[in-house]
Symmetry: C2
Subunit: 344 residues, 2 copies
């Protein structure tokens, strides 16, 4: 049986393009002792993947030219020689962009999913998966949000930002989103319920725009982008403000030339705390987050924004669109299943 | 009776020079209701003062041209109309560079000193005052140092750095100091007991030099300078490392052109915490710090490095020397007292 893989054809120069990705086929592997063969169903497209495409060590090994792209997926177990898992189980884990993967106890982020019948399975790859958990844990554990806080969120229309915007509102905060486009401003205020939105591409001066939207100052800044946005936010923080260092996507496309930051002095002057975090350090906080997020989704208070691209062949294109900021919400690739395969 | 004052003659261009300061005389003021007249004895020269010389709002009001320089001093109360204080008391507070000052309940940092008979009074303006307390509180409250941690300290031969270096050693940490000069390297390792010292001015690459001195990585970085040193330290931090944002003196001489930082991504990748702090937020921690520091000074385990300049006339020169990095330890100006005046 053939296994299609999306492989790295060229190291992207700046933002990736569909030409940086290629299609390769190989035999479906046979699971050995302690391994499972899984059928990938949904791939979660994540900014972090960009860091693995440059051929340099990041916090994971780089992906070699010709190697399959690594990415987290929701998958169904076909054959299991791994205790605790059996055929038919649905799992989440860091696999490769391919039809079928091997998974074992060392698979990063491996967890068994127990999807609720009334919830779309794709949510578990995003809003009720890593993106939602990251937003929830970041706001609570790192940002220590309290009702009444003013919370500034960058990439507020993105996978994590769209969840963070809604969660902060549900917690009684004032929320201002920063986005790159007027349509995204509309989305953030009208659909996600933010109190205000700033289009960083068209505002004259981002610091002034934040001051105007937050005359009372910013208590918590959920930073998904770093760079100039972080620099501007530093100017607007209240004393003892908290900055959640979630991502710095602004620099992912050109890691050799990160955007310089000039306002770090504010950290001392305003006694700010800037703390970076990665979700997998806070896995003990995920069950409670998941319960609360499910509750809000069911009650209709929380909207999971998804942008689903159909078909493995289109993964490179979908990823390129996301990394040039053309999309909103959680970007997923839904695998094209054969006639004899099914999600459930 | 005449009161001499050191006033701001010109906004410094870059590092201050003695010509930026002038001498002015006025009448000694008469204390009104709720005020005291105090005789300044020792001025603590502090990097933060530089921020008030540019004519722009910093975290305090700027000093106007012709205005007296503001600075903390140890002083003796001559006349008091302020409840709780009486003639003969020794106090600490933010006054002006002048012979005699008015002080009241709103005087910033105002506290009554109860100097121990066996301790030089000047220590209360530095090592057993703000510098020592800042080092102690920063390491414990912000850096959360533990025995066995590797602690990196910039400006390690300075007022705060020299105390932090010794305190971290006394707490069982490995300590590496960064300084600007080979003589300072000697001082930091031989006199202060650091495990290693790096001369940032002569090392080829600061990141490499830190890696070499700390092959196990850095757990806590006590940042007194910001800029390129902070950028290099970011490269060398261990996961969950803590960065104590105490000062960013590297930029104080040219605040309109702060040194850009490029390695902020490390905050996310390594899940670092960078927290700025100002001592006056942690005044509840000062009594315990003071007790411990006194104990170590008496036992001879802690050396208070002082660089005392005699005479108010020389304050501008002394400050200029400090701000070009020419000095070590705590810089103080000892006031030239009249024959009928005494310290005690």
């Amino acid at each position: 049986m053939q296994n299609r893989q999306i492989v790295l054809k060229a190291h992207p120069q700046g933002a990736p393009t569909p030409d940086d990705f290629g299609l390769s086929t190989c035999e479906v592997p046979t699971p050995g002792e302690g391994q499972m063969l899984v059928r990938n169903l949904f791939f979660s497209l994540e900014a972090a993947i960009r860091g693995w495409l440059d051929g340099k060590a990041n916090y994971f090994e780089p992906i070699p030219l010709g190697g399959a792209i690594r990415g987290p997926s929701v998958a169904k177990v076909l054959t299991s020689h791994l205790p605790g898992f059996e055929a038919g189980d649905l799992i989440f884990g860091l696999h490769h962009w391919e039809d079928y993967s091997l998974s074992d106890a060392n698979t990063i982020l491996l967890s068994k999913l127990t999807p609720e019948a009334d919830i779309p399975l794709s949510y578990y790859a995003g809003g009720l998966g890593g993106s939602g958990h990251t937003a929830y844990v970041g706001l609570h554990e790192i940002g220590k949000i309290q009702a009444g806080d003013t919370v500034l969120i960058s990439a507020a229309a993105g996978a994590t930002g769209s969840m963070a915007t809604q969660i902060a509102k549900l917690r009684g905060c004032k929320v201002v989103g920063i986005v790159g486009g007027d349509n995204k401003c509309q989305l953030v205020t009208k659909t996600l319920g933010a109190d205000a939105a700033i289009n960083y591409k068209t505002c004259e001066n981002l610091t002034d725009a934040i001051h105007e939207a937050c005359p009372e100052g910013v208590d918590v800044y959920f930073d998904n982008v770093g760079g100039k946005t972080l620099d501007a936010a530093l100017n607007c923080m209240n004393t003892f403000g908290r900055i959640i260092g979630c991502g710095m996507i602004g620099d992912y496309n050109d890691q050799d030339n990160p955007t310089p930051l000039f306002n770090m002095w504010k950290l001392v002057e305003k006694e700010l705390t800037l703390r970076g975090f990665l979700l997998y350090t806070y896995m003990d906080k995920v069950p409670a987050a998941s319960t609360q997020l499910h509750h809000w989704v069911r009650s209709g208070e929380l909207t999971v924004l998804e942008n689903i691209t159909e078909g493995l062949d289109n993964a490179g294109l979908a990823y390129s669109e996301m990394m040039r900021g053309a999309t909103v919400g959680k970007n997923l690739v839904a695998m094209d299943l054969r006639d004899d395969e099914s999600i459930s």
